[in-house]
C-alpha cells in the first residue's frame, strides 16, 4: 500500500496548477505506458513461438531457450528506454 501511495504522490508531485507541469506529467505517463505496451506484445509473441518450437522439437529446447532469453532481454530494453524517458521528464 505504501508503494502505491508513493507512486500516486510521485505522479502529483510537481505543481499541478500549471499547464506545463500537467503536460509534462501527461507526456511522462504516455511515454512509459506506450513504451511498455510494445515490448509486452513482443515478449508475448516471442515466448508463444518459443514454446511452440520447444513442443515441436524438444531436442532443440536448449537453443530455443537461449535465443528466447536474449530476445526477451533485447525487447525489454525498449520498455527500459520508455522508463528512463519517464524519469527524466518527471524528476530531472
Amino acid at each position: 500500500m505504501e508503494a502505491i501511495s508513493m507512486l500516486v504522490s510521485a505522479a502529483a508531485e510537481k505543481d499541478p496548477n500549471t499547464t506545463g507541469s500537467g503536460l509534462t506529467a501527461l507526456g511522462a505517463g504516455l511515454a512509459y505506458g506506450f513504451a511498455a505496451i510494445g515490448p509486452a506484445l513482443g515478449i508475448g509473441n516471442l515466448v508463444g513461438k518459443s514454446v511452440e518450437a520447444m513442443a515441436r522439437q524438444p531436442e532443440a529446447a536448449g537453443m530455443v531457450r537461449t535465443t528466447m532469453f536474449l530476445g526477451i532481454a533485447f525487447t525489454e530494453a525498449l520498455a527500459l528506454i520508455g522508463f528512463v524517458v519517464f524519469i527524466l521528464l518527471k524528476f530531472a
Partner: protein
C-alpha cells in the same frame, strides 16, 4: 524432456542455458562497473558514481531474476514458464520503477546519470554477451572454451 498430455504441460529437463548466460552477464557487468562508475564520477561527481553503481546493480538483478524465473518454471511446465515470463516482465518493470522511486529523492542520486546508465548497461552487456553465445544444437548456451573442450574430448580419441 518429458511429455505430458498437452504441449503446455511438458517440462524441459536438463541444464538451463539462460542461467549460465545470466551468470556470464553478471560477471561481465562486474568487470564493466568500475569503468561506468569512473565515467559517471567524471561527468557528475560522487552522486553520479553512486547512481551508476545503483543502476548497474538494478540491471544485473533484473537479468538474474529473469533467468531464474525461466529456469525454475521450465522444469515444471512450458505453460507455467510462459505465464511466469509474461507476468515476470510486468513484475520486474514494477520493481525497477519502485526501486528508482524509492531512491529518487536521496542526496546521492543523479537522475540523468541513473537513467543513462540503466540503458547503456542493459544494451551494452547484451551486445557484449552476443559475442560469447553459441546458440547451436551442440552448444545451446555459451560458446565452449576451446582448450577445455579439446581436453574433454581427448580420451575419446585414444
Amino acid at each position: 524432456m518429458t511429455s505430458g498430455s498437452s504441449p503446455l504441460a511438458m517440462a524441459v529437463a536438463g541444464e538451463a542455458p539462460e542461467v549460465s548466460i545470466s551468470r556470464d552477464l553478471v560477471k561481465r557487468g562486474l568487470i564493466a562497473t568500475p569503468v561506468l562508475v569512473l565515467i559517471s564520477a567524471v561527468a557528475a561527481g560522487a552522486d553520479g558514481a553512486w547512481s551508476a553503481a545503483f543502476a548497474v546493480a538494478l540491471i544485473l538483478l533484473n537479468f538474474s531474476m529473469a533467468a531464474w524465473l525461466i529456469s525454475v518454471t521450465a522444469r515444471i511446465s512450458l505453460g507455467l514458464m510462459m505465464g511466469a515470463i509474461l507476468f515476470g516482465y510486468i513484475l520486474r518493470l514494477a520493481l525497477i520503477t519502485l526501486a528508482v522511486l524509492l531512491v529518487k529523492d536521496m542526496s546521492w542520486v543523479s537522475i540523468p546519470v541513473l537513467g543513462v546508465t540503466i540503458i547503456v548497461t542493459h544494451l551494452g552487456l547484451l551486445f557484449w554477451e552476443m559475442k560469447y553465445v553459441a546458440a547451436s544444437l551442440a552448444f545451446p548456451g555459451l560458446k565452449p572454451d576451446v582448450a577445455e573442450w579439446r581436453a574433454s574430448r581427448a580420451p575419446e580419441n585414444h
